[in-house]
């Protein structure tokens, strides 16, 4: 028997026991070139046999090339589809809520037990918002929900209790930015809280992109700069001195301690932003959390 081209050497008929059947053990479909099979491998033998094996191999490798291309194509389409769907979902989840409403216009603020309460009238729903002035995610949160919060507060639908923490102080250039930002807000709320919309407007200004200092950066806002920011958002000049002098820093420090304890008690950790309602955290990564809350 001639050796057929293959990866492995195959035993020839001569080395096999003579009891092997001499007839073709493999049935061939009709229409193929007549080729008897090898008694050992069952493969087609002879020239016609070599041609049919080669043809089958070519067909197989052409098929498998085509298969690989199809698979590659499907994979690329799948990746593109997932990414596109993801971008659509992401855009929906990042959409600014209540966009176009602008700044708060009607709600007023009072301070009691270190908590700044902003409301108009007597709303049925109260939310406790825990933030840190340096927290970038709070900045994103304010950017996404600030207008909606302002609107619902103005419409008397929600009362917003602001709790300013300071656990990120050490990441600020001045080592106490969070406390001083909280003190500035406290000054505005205590001395000018009755001016409609002012506290929420200044609160949003503190977190505005470009205004809010960056964690770990070389600079943040001094008390004087915080005072200027306040005046720019409409805070009366009389409050400017209080902010620039850091009049409420001690109170802000105490408030931050209470706020940290409160958020830890409610959620087991200290993370901002956290929004509580009736002592329970709301799932604010649901973009419609406030829409659904107000109903």
């Amino acid at each position: 028997m001639a050796q057929r081209p293959s990866n492995k050497s195959r035993p020839t008929a001569a080395s096999k026991p003579a009891t092997k059947p001499a007839t073709n053990p493999v049935a061939k479909p009709a229409g193929r070139p007549a080729a008897s099979g090898s008694p050992t491998t069952g493969r087609p033998t002879g020239k016609a046999g070599r041609q049919s094996v080669a043809a089958a191999r070519n067909a197989t490798s052409a098929n498998s090339n085509r298969t690989q291309m199809i698979i590659g194509g499907v994979a690329v389409v799948l990746i593109a589809a997932v990414v596109i769907i993801g971008l659509v979902i992401n855009k929906k989840n990042s959409a600014v809520q209540g966009n176009g409403y602008g700044d708060a216009k009607a709600s007023t603020a009072t301070v009691a037990a270190g908590v700044i309460s902003v409301a108009k009238g007597n709303p049925p729903i109260t939310i406790e918002v825990f933030e840190d002035g340096l927290c970038p995610i709070c900045g994103g949160f304010e950017n996404q929900y600030g207008q909606q919060i302002a609107q619902y507060a103005d419409e008397g639908k929600i009362k917003v209790n602001l709790h300013m923490l300071n656990f990120l102080n050490d990441r600020s250039a001045s080592r106490d930015y969070s406390t001083r930002a909280s003190a500035a807000l406290l000054a505005v709320a205590t001395e000018a809280g009755d001016q409609p919309g002012l506290v929420l407007k200044f609160h949003s200004a503190l977190f505005a992109a470009g205004t809010q200092p960056v964690e770990g950066a070389a600079a943040d806002l001094t008390n004087a700069q915080l005072a200027d920011l306040a005046v720019k958002t409409g805070v009366p000049e009389s409050v400017k001195a209080s902010i620039a002098a850091g009049k409420y820093v001690a109170a802000a420090t105490a408030n931050a301690q209470a706020a940290t304890a409160a958020v830890r008690a409610a959620t087991g950790g200290v993370q901002t932003p956290t929004v509580l309602r009736d002592g329970k955290p709301l799932a604010t990564n649901n973009v419609k959390w406030l829409t659904e809350l107000v109903g």
């Binding site: 499907v74 994979a75 990414v83 990042s94 964690e215």
Partner: protein, 170 residues
């Protein structure tokens, strides 16, 4: 048992491949879905590396979770395994490079790999363990790039189909 070209039993190769795939799937799904669930946090995490221009931060943070999920899906199915493995390896190299760059520049950040991210207190960085973990995953991806064959894969099923082109001829 089928023999592969170098004599190693194909069954072992197939199951090793499956294990490598599943390891990468677990990581990509955990990481991808965690990032997708908190887009704000992901933006913060990407920005904290200070490697990208600001205009690129949001788009990258938007796409990254879904790229990871897509790779996870491909590896779960065993579809275009070599392509998915190479892409996984490239992505892991980018991540490893990012963490090394942050460490070298003295940034104190969380890698943001499974959600989270942004600044951490100095002394609380975990760069070494983050890099080690990613290197381990890179090894899995590298193995799969080299030997993409695995059990229970669409690739395997499709290869079986193309090996029997005349199956339907009577």
């Amino acid at each position: 048992m089928l023999e592969t070209g170098n004599g190693r039993p194909a069954v072992l190769v197939n199951w090793l491949g499956l294990l490598a795939r599943l390891g990468l799937v677990a990581v990509w799904f955990t990481s991808g879905f965690a990032k997708a669930a908190d887009p704000l946090e992901t933006v913060v995490a990407v920005r904290a590396y200070r490697l990208l221009p600001e205009g690129a931060v949001r788009p990258v943070a938007a796409v990254l979770p879904y790229l990871e999920i897509a790779l996870g899906i491909l590896l779960l199915l065993g579809l275009a395994t070599r392509l998915a493995a190479v892409a996984s390896a490239v992505l892991l190299l980018v991540f490893i490079g990012g963490v090394i760059s942050a460490a070298v520049r003295g940034l104190t950040i969380d890698c943001g790999c499974f959600g989270g991210g942004g600044q951490v207190a100095s002394g609380q960085t975990q760069y070494a363990s983050e890099i080690l973990r990613d290197v381990g995953l890179l090894a899995l991806a590298g193995y799969l790039s080299w030997r993409p064959r695995s059990a229970l894969s669409v690739d395997g099923w499709a290869a079986g189909l193309s090996r029997n082109p005349h199956v339907d001829q009577a």
